[in-house]
Amino acid sequence: MPFREDQLAQRVVKPKTNLGPGFWPITALIVVVSAVMVYLVETSPLPIGLVQAGGPADSVDALFRFLGATGAVIFNVVTIYTIYFAIVFRAPKGAPPNSIGVQIHDAPVLEFWWTAIPTILVVILSIYSVKIWADLQNTAGDVLTVEAIGYQFGFQFRYPKLTTPTSELHLPVGTPTTIHVTSRSTDVIHGFWIPEFRQKADMVPGLVNTIRITPTRIGTYRIICSEFCGVAHGGMKGTLIVQSQQDFDKWFAQQGGQHAGGGGGIPLSAGTVSAGQALFGQKCSVCHSVGPFSQKIVGPGLGQIFNDPAHPKLVDGAAPTPQDAAKIIHDGYSGDIGTMPSAQVNGLSNPDIANLVAYLASLSKK
């Protein structure tokens, strides 16, 4: 007997029972387990179990924590409810073969929320990721620029003031560094991965990709090829050595370079005295007078820094040249007198440093 369509109008059967035996205790369990997991993830110093050798590893790890925490909550909700439903709503033994479940088709309010909440989460996550992404793009304060070149099967590095490429990447600690990565023009694609910095870029022939890091932890780290590049791909590794400025300078000199890292790379010729004077008043005069070296506030007086016969050398032992002063202003220096903050701390760009040095030089001429 054919039945009419109107007899098939969808009947929404309201569940007569509550949500299911033990629904709320299970929900409480989900909340507790999730809270514990979120706590553990959010408080773990190294969420992926790998040391942080410098920026931006810390920001990326913060993102990992956020992703891990959100993921754990969602996974708990899905898994625990699924297993719970699976157990509670199984057909009892001996149920008649035509027994059926609650004939419910929709629950608009519920569906609204399980669309809205993930949407909000996705928006938050997008914003957070964009923010961290923007931090990584920030170029201000870059001091050292190195070029990393991949080839089958190794890495080499070019420093601005070295004529021959090096086989290891050495970086002075605390120096914001830009690494331009590429591959030899007739070679294949390689990857430049420094896991302890959470950074990677493909080395593509004919293309230059950029990574920015600031090493903060002295040590030796891995450089790993992360794009398949041929038969010895698995063995394609390089070494990144983060060392103190002094050690770096020593190594650099051995490679045939003159004083390079840190302030060595800052062009000073464009500095103007007036801009330097203004900056000095804002950022330096709390700690430095413009009198002779002996006229100390926190740090020494800087009025005769380049021509003080009583102090023929700078506090770090270098000759009193504008380049070396710039290096101290850039890198900061901790010595017998106290701690001179770095340009990063003082919020100085390279042109700022040039202006300050110009101003200091003008003082010394008087």
Binding site: L67, T82, F85, V102, F228
Partner: protein, 568 residues
């Protein structure tokens, strides 16, 4: 012709469909060069099943090699060929053909109440390209198989062994095969649904195929273009990709991923369809949120065309361009989440029968969710800088492809086997299969996440000794998984011969394929039934009229004699 209830629209097709071709009698026309969608579906299944065995064995060589940091069994050169062939085979010769070629072909026309697909001869061509391509692909081992991964990025793939060009041809051919299938299914679903089966009454597996087929059509075009160019550059030196000759290696990546990201959804949407069908049948409840599931399927299909560059965050593109790709990728989580929650709600309040198919469908919920969540980690650009090219990616993609597509396929095999063969599979062996796969799979791929995060790159034949422990763990569990899959094959073979007779509808399911005998007769429906509602209302009478078994249905007799019956 049975009278339709008031309000049921009949298309012009209804009359046209009502004629029946006589069944071919020769073995060759019946089983080899068949134009019957059911036979073609089964042909796809057998062929892809064979490829699955090969690709699975390749996987075990990979895992065995990685037992030792210095490589336990094969040379690095061989290893590279093996993992490249594993990936290629699994994606193009196993998962896509099983989801669309096998289950799409067998189930979809039955579910829409059609007698075949729109273009049966085209279907035959689609199928026969596929084994030919497979033979080409595997014979590349003889001349040096491709070794740069299933992604074959140039310039390294330009230097690859001669078999890399064979690979181009083979993948190009399966591309054509899937394009033809895409056309065929799109037209079939648009034009050949039974009268009364409006879009909002289609079974959700049909919705899944409906979203997938145009994707096959559009995306594969990009891949085939890219493959042709790679082939031309390799064989004739026409510079498309080699930067040394003015080409662009990143161009390949864009073309490749413009196909391969949608392909990710080609490989999951039909599985989503399986899950909707199976969860509903065994919970004995309507699929919760039918319209939202259907809508989100289409939303995912559309969005999937706007996210490809999330595979290329480290490749080198204008930095700001990373952001839209990241954000759209993350937004795919919303329709996906809607599905997951709707499926959970389908379980809720059910009268659940724990068959093997149901176990796999539920296991899918858990493993696929996990894979989806690690997808977030990869979508977030700053985190991807760390994860790209590492074992984390390998772990993620196996969670969505094995934990998603394969779990769905296992569920589908247990679910539709009785329909295909008229016999039940052993539930006891099925249980073993499920639990061993579930344990083996998670044990294999969970450790790979942290191996990747700790710095182990993918596609390496040797690795640093500190990674050995977890590699050994992963490999050990992978043997359990392989053993479990072996059990499935045994189960299939044994059940084929001595499984219990299933009858037309062993599961008490309600979609149209269960309304006819198992295996279905040559022309599926003697009378094309009319459809009055979605199939899933277990509380209501069946929403079909004019079924063969229904009172008043008159048998149609072969009336169409314009094609002579072939005699070869």
């Amino acid at each position: 012709m049975a009278t339709l209830a008031p309000g049921v629209k009949t298309g012009p097709y209804h009359a046209v469909l009502d004629h029946i071709h006589p069944e071919p009698t020769s073995f060759i026309r019946k089983y080899i060069f068949s134009i019957d969608h059911k036979i073609i579906g089964i042909q796809y299944m057998i062929t892809a099943g064979l490829f699955f065995i090969i690709a699975g064995l390749l996987a075990e060589i990979i895992r065995t090699q990685l037992l030792s940091p210095t490589g336990a069994v094969v040379s690095a050169a061989t290893f590279n060929q093996i993992y490249s062939m594993h990936g290629t085979t699994m994606v193009w010769f196993v998962v896509i053909p099983l989801l669309t070629g096998a289950f799409g072909n067998f189930v979809m026309p039955l579910q829409i109440g059609a007698r075949d697909v729109a273009f049966p001869w085209l279907n035959l061509v689609s199928y026969w390209i596929f084994p030919v391509a497979g033979v080409l692909l595997f014979s590349s081992f003889l001349i040096g198989a491709p070794d740069a991964g299933w992604t074959e990025y140039p310039p390294i793939s330009l230097q690859g062994p001669p078999g890399t060009s064979m690979w181009c041809i083979a993948v190009f051919l399966v591309g054509i095969s899937s394009t033809l299938t895409g056309i065929n299914f799109t037209v079939t679903i648009l034009k050949m649904r039974a009268p009364g089966m409006t879009f909002t009454r289609m079974p959700l597996f049909v919705w899944a195929q409906f979203a997938t087929s145009p994707m096959l059509l559009i995306a594969t075009t990009a891949l085939n273009g890219a493959l042709a160019a790679l082939f031309l550059e390799r064989q004739f030196g026409i510079p498309f990709y080699n930067p040394a000759h003015g080409g662009s290696p990143v161009l390949w990546q864009h073309m490749f991923w413009f196909y391969s990201h949608p392909a990710v959804y080609i490989m999951i949407l039909p599985a989503f369809g399986f899950i909707s069908e199976i969860l509903s049948t065994f919970s004995r409840k309507p699929v919760f949120g039918y319209k939202m599931i259907a809508f989100s399927t289409v939303a995912i299909a559309l969005l999937s065309f706007a996210v490809w560059a999330h595979h290329m965050f480290t490749s080198g593109m204008v930095p700001w361009l990373q952001l839209p790709f990241m954000i759209i990728t993350m937004f795919i989580a919303i329709p996906t989440g809607i599905k997951i929650f709707s499926w959970m709600a389908t379980l809720w309040g059910g009268s659940i029968r724990w068959t093997t198919a149901m176990l796999f469908a539920t296991g899918f919920l858990i493993t696929f969710t996990f894979g989806g969540l690690t997808g977030f980690f990869l979508a977030a650009v700053p985190a991807d800088y760390h994860e790209h090219g590492s074992y984390f990616v390998v772990a993620h993609l196996h969670y969505v492809l094995f934990g998603g597509s394969m779990m769905g396929l296992f569920a589908a095999i247990y679910y539709w086997f009785p329909k295909m063969c008229g016999r039940m599979m052993s539930e006891k062996l099925g249980l073993w299969h499920f639990w061993l796969v579930f344990i083996g799979f998670n044990g294999t791929f969970i450790p790979l996440h942290w191996l990747g995060l700790l710095g182990m790159p993918r596609r390496v034949a040797i690795y640093d000794p500190q990674y050995q422990f977890w590699n050994v763990v992963a490999s050990s569990f992978s043997y359990i998984m392989t053993f479990a899959i072996l059990l499935m094959f045994i189960n299939i073979l044994v059940s084929l011969r001595s499984g219990k007779k299933s009858g037309p509808n062993p599961w008490g399911a309600r979609t149209l394929e269960w309304m006819i005998s198992s295996p279905p007769p040559y022309y599926n429906f003697k009378k094309i039934p009319a459809v009055l509602a979605t199939p899933y209302d277990f509380g209501n009478p069946l929403p079909y009229i004019g079924l063969d078994a229904a009172p008043g249905a008159t048998e149609a007799t072969p009336t169409h004699t314009s094609h002579p019956v072939p005699t070869y």
